[in-house]
Amino acid sequence: MKHVGTIAGRELKSLFVSPVAYVVLTLFSVLAGFFFLSSVLQFTEYVIRLQQFQLLDQLRELNLNDQVIAPFLGVMSVVLLFVIPGITMGLFAAEKANGTDELLLTSPLTIWEIVLGKYLAAAAFVMILVAMVALFPGLLFLYGNPEVPKTVAGLLGLFLVGLAYTAIGAFASSLTRSQVIAFVLAFVLLLLLWMLSFLADLGAAGGTMGSANNLSAFLRYLSSSDHFEQLVKGLIDTTDLVYFAILIGSFLLLAKAAIESVRWR
């Protein structure tokens, strides 16, 4: 396992000497700022309206976590659907296009070391993204008093979602030598994963799947959005943590299998 750091270090370094990292970070911070501002503006407008109608009870129940931070994190988790495939598309595809896979695969290291090293590099980048998101709720602490544990749980949720998306993106990248295909494939997989809960909602609402409530529950379990929302609500449950762990583990295994299979073809 001693090569994991070597692989991760090189990957991160090349991410930061290429424009990719900076473009992603810049655009991501612009989006984060935009969505944060819109959450805050919506909140103030809501407060003003409640004051106008003298709805003091409702006004008392308002809090920054539910009205500002939760929707903001929700939108950012959707932004990650687009951003993460951009980070992961090159992980393995670029090595194949470059011919450098021949170097890695003829060096004395295991495929696990390659996969984990690459994954850790991308995960570190996702951590930077989440840290950037964290700055904005941080601002709220200057002017108000949101709940710290709930905010932290929400950010943890965003980070876990990011890590799971990264594993899926890594898998997509391991299947092809084209970064474009890796991007599109990752994006579609992530979108499906995210949309599964909508499908489940249709079932629960008595649509075509109405009778199969087990299926509905199963889809809901598979979908990333429900687990994420639990964390944003401040509920850190092992079920959700286990879900993310399984998701990450299985897609990294798939990536490893995909790289190995090239040798045996």
């Binding site: 090189r10 011919g99 170097l103 890695l104 060096s107 004395p108 040798r263 045996w264 073809r265």
Partner: protein, 250 residues
């Protein structure tokens, strides 16, 4: 040093390499010849552990590539047909990265990298970004990458392809140096593939010719060319003969 035992490689219905066996002794420089598509690259990829053989065994420096892949790979330096370079890295950073991958101990890493830089004439460009180097220099970086961990075995796939005549001469000189080093440096056993015949005459003492996946010639260069025959005649004769005979892959 290098033992190929009955290697075969099948891609679906295509038999790319068929029952190829040979031994290469320490310090030998073997030219691996054959027309394009003869199975040279496939054989070399099997010897370096990049591809598993469908059948047979590859043993490098006493380590079986399948049974003990990590030790076997540690003993090989490999320059693939297109050098495996990261264009965004600088030369020294890249070679340090490769040295880490190849398990060069931390203490010896600097020394190993500067030795490889020296031997391949890269001292002056060691801070340059690889993507900005000329093709000849990139090829040298590829070669430096293969020797940075002083492996006993070197496998070079068309090391001079796409270079200009002066660069070709330099690379050939370098390869000849690697096989017969001056004082203290590792003596490498070299297999290099090419379809440029003068290259073989310039640096190899032994020739293995493969054609349509099978070995057709394996003998010292001096024997092949005795009686005034040129290597080119031998090559033409061998590959033509097999064309007439029923192809073994069919």
């Amino acid at each position: 040093m290098i033992a190929a035992k009955h290697l075969s490689k099948r891609y679906g219905d295509l038999l790319a390499v068929h029952d190829v066996s040979f031994d290469v002794a320490k310090g030998e420089v073997v030219g691996f010849l054959g027309p394009n598509g003869a199975g040279k690259t496939t054989t070399m990829r099997i010897l370096t552990g990049f591809l598993p053989p469908s059948d047979g065994q590859a043993v490098i420096d006493g380590h079986d590539m399948f049974e003990d892949p990590l030790a076997a790979r540690r003993s090989v330096g490999y320059l693939p047909e297109s050098p495996p370079l990261y264009p965004e890295m600088d030369v020294q950073g890249y070679l340090t990265f490769v040295a880490k991958l190849k398990d060069v101990p931390r203490k010896e890493r600097r020394e190993a990298v500067s030795r490889a830089l020296e031997r391949c004439g890269l001292k002056d460009v060691r801070r340059r970004v690889i993507g900005a180097l000329s093709k000849g220099f990139r090829q040298r970086v590829g070669l430096a990458q293969a020797i940075v961990h002083s492996p006993p075995v070197l496998i070079l796939d068309e090391p001079t392809i796409g270079l200009d005549p002066i660069q070709i001469r330099e690379i050939r000189g370098l390869i000849a140096d690697l096989a017969s080093p001056k004082g203290g440096e590792t003596q490498h056993t070299v297999i290099l593939s090419t379809h440029i015949l003068p290259e073989v005459e310039a640096i190899c003492r032994r020739v293995i010719l493969i054609h349509r996946g099978s070995k057709v010639v394996d003998s010292p260069l001096s024997e092949l060319t005795q009686g005034g025959r040129s290597l080119e005649q031998v090559f033409a004769q061998q590959t033509a003969r097999d064309l007439a005979a029923p192809a073994e892959s069919a």
